[in-house]
């Protein structure tokens, strides 16, 4: 059914509505569409429905696992935030002063004490206004901070390199119509790869799943076994240009595959 003409409504505005829902509309076109949509209910409804459609489309991307420490980093950041929030609570004990706060001299003199009659008091150590550990001559302090910064930079640099090399650059799904669950070959930037199985029924007592790397024209090379349908196994060596397959084997495992693969995938070279 044709839409009633409202506020100069044309098919072009319906096209712009889709672009607005995708959030790829900008510049004068965006302004023109917004001015029109303000008085056109049909366009507003189309944007809303298109956004709902696109929300469904967000599920089309294949699920993927993050780096092994990702959850820990996320939870740590949340815990830090929570701790800060609690420290900022007015009912909470006052936070210790920050290093920049005290206006006292850098090195305090012991307070003058009047002589006290009676038994000699136990010797009392002079109480500096700042903890002794914080009194560092400027030159030494600078050297110490430089060393600390160097250590931090080295540490963070190493972490960064590790994180970079651990990035996933490709994933390949192994599938078989008759086998529930998923299996995925995950290739990292470093070239290392792993096979991850998720939700595949356990092989049963006396059986394991065995991963095989098959180079073109060569015999399958055993890459590792899994005793359940949930877990991962590292794939040694480059898997590029190979076929990765999984068979179900009785233990002890034979030197070569004894049955047809239950799942397999070709990895691009």
């Amino acid at each position: 059914m044709a839409a009633p003409s409202v506020n100069g409504h044309t098919q072009e505005f319906e096209e712009l509505a889709g672009l607005a829902a995708l959030d790829v509309l900008d510049g004068p076109e965006r302004d023109r569409f917004e001015a029109h949509a303000a008085g056109c209910e049909r366009c507003r409804v189309i944007v809303r429905l298109d956004r709902q459609t696109l929300r469904g489309l967000s599920l089309a991307a294949p699920p993927m696992d993050p780096s092994p420490d990702f959850k820990q980093r996320l939870m740590q950041r949340a815990a830090d935030e929570l701790a800060k929030r609690q420290t900022g609570d007015p009912a909470a004990p006052a936070a210790p002063p920050t290093p920049a706060e005290p206006a006292a001299p850098a090195v305090a003199e012991p307070p003058a004490r009047a002589p006290v009659a009676g038994p000699a008091p136990a010797p009392v150590a002079p109480t500096p206004l700042r903890p002794p550990g914080r009194v560092i001559p400027f030159r030494r302090q600078r050297a110490w901070l430089t060393a600390l910064a160097a250590v931090l930079v080295l540490g963070l640099g190493s972490l960064g390199v590790l994180s970079y090399m651990n990035q996933v650059v490709a994933t390949y799904s192994l599938s078989s119509p008759g086998v529930p669950g998923t299996a995925t070959v995950i290739v990292h930037r470093s070239g290392q790869a792993e096979l991850r199985m998720d939700g595949v029924p356990d092989p049963g007592p006396g059986f394991v799943y065995e991963a095989w790397i098959i180079h073109p024209g060569q015999a399958p090379v055993a890459a590792g076994t899994l005793t359940s349908g949930q877990g991962s196994v590292g794939l040694d060596g480059s898997v590029r240009g190979t076929t990765v397959a999984i068979t179900k084997e009785a233990t002890p495992v034979p030197p070569g595959p004894s049955s047809q693969p239950i799942m397999a995938t070709a990895v691009e070279s």
């Binding site: 319906e14 672009l19 696109l54 489309l57 991307a61 993050p66």
Partner: protein
Amino acid sequence: MSGPAAAPSPELADLEALYDAYHRQAIGLAYRLLGDLGDAEEVVQEVFLAAWRAGHTYDPARGSMHTWILSMVRNRSIDVLRARKRRPVQPLAEGVDPPDVSDVPAEAASNVDAESARRALNTLPPEQKQVIEMAYFGGLSHTEIATQLAAPIGTVKGRIRLGLDRLRTALGVPQDALQML
């Protein structure tokens, strides 16, 4: 006399429940958009923290939280893509809204599972699927798509419109509101 009571801090357990329920799909979407796991994790971390700070909790009965999180992931990933291209970022009003559980059509769309979403995408003619994917997963504008495909802008706009209409039907998004107009 004490002042007004502070709002209770969200529990870490809430965040963990949200994470456990949705992180694989969120990472998958961000990675599909950004092509870099480091960037994808950064985006997903911010989205989960934002949801947690806003007090959202995991409720299996509310599928809308799933699609809301994925919408946030997509929006922030697009911001990253645009920053890479040094394109000005347009703030997205939708991205900051909490999920609307009273929105029945949205609920219906949120009940779409991954398999039916992929199937719906595959029902599109290749030329429509291509432009929808470039816009949705690539964050490309219609003019950028037209340039990349060496196609007229009008053609790209038309394909996107037709593709969205087909997807809407394939995903079962109720269209009553539109048919009444």
